[in-house]
Symmetry: C2
Subunit: 314 residues, 2 copies
C-alpha cells in the first residue's frame, strides 16, 4: 500500500481545495493508495465529512501549527515542530509516508527536504522544474526555475540528468531530448556559464543532448527537457504564467493558451532528494492537488528516486 | 539638414523593403531630413525609380560589397571595406551622415560602431535594448537583450541610466520608472548579480528606480525601463517574439498580441556610442525601416548622444 502525505494547510485555498483534490483523486484512483492528510483536525474534519471521502482510503494526522507563506523557512521549521510541514517531513523520514506534498511555504519545503530526507549522494544541488506547454500538446520540463539562482556548469549538467530521468519515467517520454537554453543555436554561443555547460552536456552519456535552444524554442517542441540556471528559468516561468493572465483578461479562448494556466499542473517534484517531495503553487486548486498526488504515485511506482540514485552512483 | 544613412543591403528583404521604408518616411516627413542610401547602385536604382522617391530628399552612395548575415564581423569588415556597413561607418565617423541604420549583420554593426565612432567616455559597455509591448498600450524598454551576455553590477547600473535617457528623450516618457528584472520583488532577492546591482541602482541619482520586477511584470506596465543582463534579456525577447508567432498560427486576432510583432518596431539604437546607430531586425519590412529612420531623427533632434555624454561626464 502506497502512502502519500498531503499538507492540508498549505496554499491559498487550503484546506478546502486540498480535500477536494484528495476526493477527486480517490474517486479516479483504482490503485492501492492511501492518503495521509496532515493538518489541523478541527478544521479539516468538517470539510472531509461534507465532501465524503471513502474512510478506508485516508487517515488524518493532526498538526496543531501552520507555517505561513511569509515566514522565514529555517526559523519557522525550528519554532513550529507541530506544523503540517514539519510533521510531514518527520513522517517521510521515518517511512510513515512514501511521498510528501505541500502547496505551502516553498522555502520551508526546501529546507525540510534538505535537512530531513537529504540529497541523493552525488547530487550537488537538488532542483525544481516547471512544465512548459507547447503547441503540439506536449509538456516540456524547464529546469531549474528558481531554486538555484547562481549555478555552475556542473549544476546545469546535473539538472539535465535529473530532468531527463523525470521526463522518461514520470512523463513517459522515451529518450527525452535535452536542450540548453541559450542566446544562440550554434555551439560556442552563450555566456560563460552556458558555454562551459555545453561542453559538459555534450559529454554527458546519461542524456540525449540536442544542443542549444533559444527563447523562441521554449514554447515549441524542440527539446523535452530545457536546462537553465534558476534565475533565467524563474523569469521565463513567471513570464509564461503572465501570458495566461493576459489571454484571460482579453477574453481570448484558445485551447493552447489555456494550457498556460499553471495552476492546473500542481507542481513538479524536487529532483535530487532521496524521497518524493512535491511543492505546489500557492494558488493550487483541487485539480492541482489531484495532479500532485498523481505525480507522487508515478514517482513511487517507477521508483524515480532509486533510478536517480543508481545514475549518480556510477 | 539632418542626414541619415541607411544600409540598403542589410536585412532579408533588402533592398526592396528598405526603399519602401524610405519612401514612406519621406512622404510622412515634413522635416528637413535627407536620406543617404548606401548600397549597390545597380540594384537599388531601378527600385527607387519604380517607387518614385522625391529626388531632392535623398542621395545614393555606392557600395560594391555586402557583408552577409553569417559572416564573421571583424573579418568581414576588414576584408570588405567597400561594403555598405563599412562605408556607412566611414561616413558616420567623418560627419557625412548624422546617424547610421542597418538591418544587416548585427555583429558587424556592433564592431563597426565600437571601432569607428567609439564608446562615450565613461560608458563601460554599450548596450542594445528592445521594446516590450504592454497591455495598456505603452512600450517598455528591456535592456540589455543580448549584446552583453555576462555582466557586472556596474554594467546593469549603466544600462539603467542609458535606458532611462532613451525612454525620456526618444520615447518621451517623463521620469521613466526603472525596474530590475529579478526572481522576487523584495530587496535582497536574486542571484549574485542582481543583489549587487540593486544596491547600485538604489543609489543611482540619474534614474527613478522602482525596485525589482519579476517575469510576470515584463508584459505589464510596472516599469518603463527593465534592466537585465544580456543573456536573460535575449531569452525573454525571443520568447516574447515567439508568442506573436503562436497567436498567428492559431488565428488569434488581438490588438495587444499584434503588438508582439517585433518586426514593426524596426530596431532600438545602440546606447552608449558617440553617434546614433540603429541595428534592425533581420526580417525588417518597410514599416520597420521607416520606424528606424524616425527613431534616428528623434535621437538627433533631442541630441540623445549629447545628453548621455553629459550624464556620464559628471
Amino acid at each position: 500500500m502506497i502512502k502519500i502525505g498531503l499538507d492540508m494547510m498549505g496554499g491559498d485555498y487550503a484546506p478546502l481545495e486540498a480535500v477536494k483534490g484528495a476526493a477527486v483523486f480517490l474517486q479516479e484512483n483504482n490503485e492501492h493508495v492511501q492518503l495521509v492528510l496532515i493538518g489541523n483536525e478541527e478544521k479539516i474534519k468538517p470539510i472531509i465529512e461534507n465532501i465524503n471521502l471513502p474512510s478506508n482510503l485516508f487517515s488524518i494526522v493532526h498538526a496543531a501549527e501552520v507555517i505561513e507563506m511569509h515566514e522565514h523557512p529555517t526559523k519557522a521549521l525550528k519554532e513550529k515542530p507541530q506544523s503540517s510541514i514539519a510533521i510531514g517531513f518527520q513522517l517521510l523520514a521515518n517511512n510513515g509516508i512514501d511521498a510528501f506534498i505541500s502547496a505551502g511555504n516553498t522555502g520551508a519545503m526546501m529546507v525540510g527536504a534538505l535537512f530531513s530526507i537529504k540529497k541523493i549522494e552525488g547530487v550537488l544541488r537538488p532542483t525544481i522544474g516547471a512544465y512548459m506547454p507547447r503547441e503540439n500538446g506536449t509538456l516540456g520540463l524547464l529546469v531549474d526555475v528558481g531554486l538555484n539562482a547562481d549555478c555552475k556548469p556542473e549544476n546545469l549538467n546535473q539538472f539535465a540528468t535529473l530532468g531527463a530521468l523525470f521526463a522518461e519515467h514520470v512523463l513517459k517520454i522515451n529518450n527525452p531530448k535535452v536542450g540548453l537554453v541559450n542566446l544562440g543555436e550554434e555551439e560556442g554561443k552563450g555566456n560563460i556559464l552556458t558555454q562551459a555547460s555545453y561542453t559538459l552536456l555534450k559529454e554527458n552519456g546519461n542524456i540525449n543532448f540536442v544542443g542549444n535552444i533559444e527563447g523562441r524554442d521554449i514554447l515549441v517542441h524542440k527539446a523535452d527537457v530545457m536546462v537553465c540556471d534558476g534565475f533565467t528559468g524563474n523569469v521565463v516561468l513567471k513570464m509564461a504564467e503572465s501570458i495566461y493572465d493576459i489571454t484571460k483578461r482579453r477574453n481570448i479562448e484558445d485551447e493552447h493558451f489555456d494550457r498556460f494556466n499553471f495552476e492546473q499542473y500542481g507542481g513538479v517534484p524536487v529532483l535530487g532528494v532521496t524521497k518524493p517531495v512535491i511543492i505546489g503553487h500557492g494558488i493550487s486548486g483541487s485539480i492541482a492537488f489531484k495532479n500532485m498526488i498523481n505525480i507522487a504515485c508515478q514517482m513511487i511506482k517507477t521508483d524515480l528516486s532509486g533510478k536517480i540514485k543508481e545514475c549518480f552512483s556510477v
